[in-house]
């Protein structure tokens, strides 16, 4: 008995018709320069690294690898360097100059679910919603490191204080609400 799967409803973060929150954010950010985002990203990665040192243990030999996180809807990619001595997360325009040891690409909501500990990355990989390239072992180690966290990094980010994070908290809250409804 072999049977094709029956897909259930998938959360895309849709708010009206075909427009989604991630698409909306992506469109709004497209004309903007990237430099205002960099300090926010820098603070996120530093605080997460400080609060979650166990992440580095599971990364093992890939703790100093560079990961390109390519979110389909955003007008830039993220470059993550989890190096415990100098953790880095920065936004870069897409292009051949962006190089990392491993690349993880997918829709915003799917990557959001995985980072939030609510998405099954293997199922998303099997369905081709998430794609990985480059050093597969590095990508697998990052997945396993994120998966072993109590709570989620999204919660950590949402809990960060300061005026820069107020709109981010609102977006996270909205995305989680959308996800839970679907």
């Amino acid at each position: 008995m072999n049977s094709e799967r029956r897909d259930g409803p998938r959360a895309t973060g849709s708010i009206v018709g075909t427009v989604s929150v991630p698409h909306l954010i992506g469109r709004l950010m497209r004309p903007l320069p990237l430099f205002p985002i960099q300090p926010i990203l820098g603070r996120i990665v530093r605080e997460v690294a400080c609060k979650r040192p166990e992440l580095f243990e599971r990364l093992g030999p890939h703790v100093r690898s560079a990961f390109v996180i390519d979110v389909n809807e955003l007008p830039f990619v993220l470059l993550l360097k989890p190096d415990p001595a100098a953790p880095g997360l920065s936004a870069l325009r897409r292009g051949p100059s962006v190089r990392g040891d491993a690349t993880i690409r997918g829709p915003f909501m799917d990557l959001f679910r995985v980072v939030d500990g609510r998405g099954d990355s293997d199922a998303l990989f099997f369905s081709r919603d998430i794609n990985i390239g480059g050093d597969t072992e590095a990508a697998v180690c990052l997945r396993n490191a994120l998966d072993d966290l109590d709570g989620s990094i999204v919660e950590d980010i949402a809990a960060m204080g300061g005026p820069l994070f107020a709109p981010l908290r609102m977006v996270v809250s909205r995305l989680r609400a959308l996800e839970e409804r679907t």
């Binding site: 029956r6 599971r58 609510r118 990355s121 369905s127 081709r128 390239g133 180690c141 997945r143 998966d147």
Partner: protein, 336 residues
């Protein structure tokens, strides 16, 4: 459906302490896991437990009435056997509820050093006849056998009547080669195997290469083992689930087996009637989200079956490998 049953034990996977806690919270009766080394059959990058994490995890499970079974189920090779013996020592010291073994040297060490330590015979041992199982019981005091996924339900029923130990059967997840415990396909390409090194298709040897037409090639070492069209679903990048060209065929085909997941939700009552007392979910390499979904669904199903209700596991199809599911050899030997 009004027949009621004794409730079988639900045995669930955990690749990380977070997954173990998730499984326990979702209703697992027992969780199986392994150390972060070659002593178990899921020795994947970034996965598994340190001794300290195992100690904390056992405490977490025991506090909530759940058991922890330590898989020490790869095959020890000289001169490295001490690594497997150390794992057994650790399980005994931390009061794991059982050790899952395949290697007779490891089993012999465990039963001679720790006569009170409960031993389960791993699926890796490939014991599929009453004679083989009885031998393990008599020589090593095996309390439970995990049956290879090559037997029909009537065959399990017949074995149950002739053996002195409990039976554990896989009910959900990745389904492996039909001759379990003796797969050396990846040895050919990578030099390591599940049975000897605990890892099949190590991620360090796997690459995914996107082509301009949207297809993606999966390579293992120097070999391309599959190429997925743009919208095509994928499976694990293992040789046994690759598609290959050969003379006389125009299209690549699954030479060994297809990417497909076992799902025996519809056979649960039959399995319990056949004497299966523990139901095993595969997937120590999977995420805690997967563990939560599958364990929760099977917890409800087992409770439904025990109470004489019809279980509903339709949602599990979404979590299957390649988007396909099968009842495998449990339903028919001609399942491929």
């Amino acid at each position: 459906m009004n027949e009621t049953f004794a409730k079988p034990e639900l045995v669930c996977p955990a690749g990380t302490p977070a997954a173990l806690r998730t499984a326990v919270d979702a209703g697992a009766d027992a969780v199986y896991c392994g150390l972060a080394n070659e002593t178990n059959a899921r020795n994947f990058a970034g996965l598994n437990f340190t001794p300290q994490a195992l100690e904390q995890s056992i405490a977490y499970a025991h506090d909530r009435g759940a058991k922890v079974l330590l898989a020490v189920n790869s095959f020890a090779t000289s001169p490295r056997a001490q690594l497997w013996f150390d794992a057994v020592d650790l399980a005994a010291r931390l009061r794991a509820d059982a050790v899952i073994v395949a290697d007779i040297g490891v089993a012999s060490y465990a039963v001679s050093r720790y006569p009170g330590l409960r031993l389960h015979l791993s699926v890796q041992a490939g014991a599929s006849s009453p004679e083989a199982i009885r031998y393990y019981c008599e020589e090593f005091g095996i309390s439970r056998v995990v049956l290879p996924r090559i037997l029909t339900v009537p065959e399990i029923d017949a074995i149950h009547r002739e053996i002195p130990c409990e039976i554990e059967a896989f009910v959900f997840g990745n389904i492996g080669m039909m001759a379990e415990g003796r797969c050396s396909l990846t040895n050919y390409v990578t030099g390591v195997s599940t049975n000897m090194n605990g890892v099949c298709s190590p991620a360090s040897d796997v690459r995914y290469v996107e082509h301009s037409d949207g297809s993606t090639a999966a390579t293992l070492g120097d070999f391309e083992i599959d190429c997925y069209a743009a919208e095509e679903k994928t499976g694990y990048p293992t040789i046994c689930k690759g598609r290959y060209m050969r003379p006389g065929r125009e299209e690549p085909y699954y030479a060994f087996e297809e990417p497909v997941s076992l799902n025996l939700s519809a056979l649960l009552p039959d399995l319990v009637r056949a004497g299966v007392s523990a139901l095993k979910i595969e997937g120590r390499q999977r995420s805690r989200s997967y563990v939560h979904s599958v364990v929760s669904a099977y917890r409800r199903a087992v409770d439904d079956v025990a109470a004489g209700r019809t279980p509903d596991l339709s949602t599990l199809a979404m979590l299957t490998e390649g988007g396909k599911q099968t009842q495998g050899a449990y339903a028919t030997k001609k399942w491929r």
